[in-house]
Assembly symmetry: C2
Amino acid sequence: MIAMDGTPRAVILLSGGLDSATALRMAHNQGYELYALSFRYGQRHSHELTCAAQLAAQLPDVTHRILDLDLTVFGGSALTADIPVPKDGVGDGIPVTYVPARNTVFLSLSLSWAEALGAHDIFVGVNAVDYSGYPDCRPQYIEAFETLANLATRDGVEGRRFRIHAPLIHLTKGQIIAQGLALGVDYGLTTSCYDPDEQGRGCGLCDACRLRLAGFAEAGAADPARYVPNASPGA
Amino acid sequence: MIAMDGTPRAVILLSGGLDSATALRMAHNQGYELYALSFRYGQRHSHELTCAAQLAAQLPDVTHRILDLDLTVFGGSALTADIPVPKDGVGDGIPVTYVPARNTVFLSLSLSWAEALGAHDIFVGVNAVDYSGYPDCRPQYIEAFETLANLATRDGVEGRRFRIHAPLIHLTKGQIIAQGLALGVDYGLTTSCYDPDEQGRGCGLCDACRLRLAGFAEAGAADPARYVPNASPGA
């Protein structure tokens, strides 16, 4: 559906992290009227939801919703259950911070909202280069979800096809940050840490902090995020 | 994962309707330790959740969870928004009772729970014969979801494949009911109506009531569900 003034609508998953903040700005620059979706899913800290709300509020034509969805009922992840977040460096396999089927759950809900809105474009800031190895961040996963979306829905079946946009998927973290800075993303409003302190300061040691700090180093830029004192691994 | 006593686990979507009640009994007869999932998603009536809980409680080895997920935030359906439920007969296209991407949302959450439980079998009582024409009840949709599930998850990627079981998908409503009766399903504990009254009695006129009543007629059995007086279309 095109809005009354001719602006196409899109739904975007907005976590409050660096990647989705960049994807938000990219989608906005493409002229979409945006509907940003965040989840209160039982994550360890609500700081990322504060970040998401601030990022959405910075732009005109962005409607932001936070949906309550208690994934702690299921457990199975260091992000939603009482399992320690690893801080000894980015490893090879899929880490314990993996939340079972999280992106499938979130994309499914974004699809539901999109169809109800008459939107056919869904943006997601997944990245398959500098990432934690989650299976639901890979290109073949995104393609499979797009296929599913067009079989699952009235609009898909009737030829109004959904497209899943993952504009960061092949970029390095440094490239994401460089592009975001060029577009005016305020990375001081983003959070990446899996285990921030009460003030929202990063631990500097979890996979997400390490990937973020390495990305800023690659981009030759200073990370405006706050970290707990003496915690940085020195990127 | 096999439970400590060797019993395999499975997750099943349990709506409290006729179809999922039958699938529950089928899965139970196959020897699974079952985890039944229902949703308080903003449906017009909570009677179906009462039915789901009673159906689960009838069987040993069934753990039942009701997850809160407010799809009314998105709207777009006669089942979740202020749109009248049609009562003039089952038509051709996809009706307004279609909830955008509902089965994708529900299957995604069942996948999340399954992976957290170490279960790799997911049962869903969708049917593509005597149904309301919803796109997310068709075989090609179920196949696409299974493909997605195995790309989306740690277990799928590591070779512990998920299977989506839709044992009713090719059956007529009459065949479903006949098989369910043979297995001992108490259809008096199921509800089908899209718009029941305060006592949970069916309207007899919506698509779901019409399909149910025609199914009992086909099976040559009496429908133990209660209907509001003088509302039956006579199947």
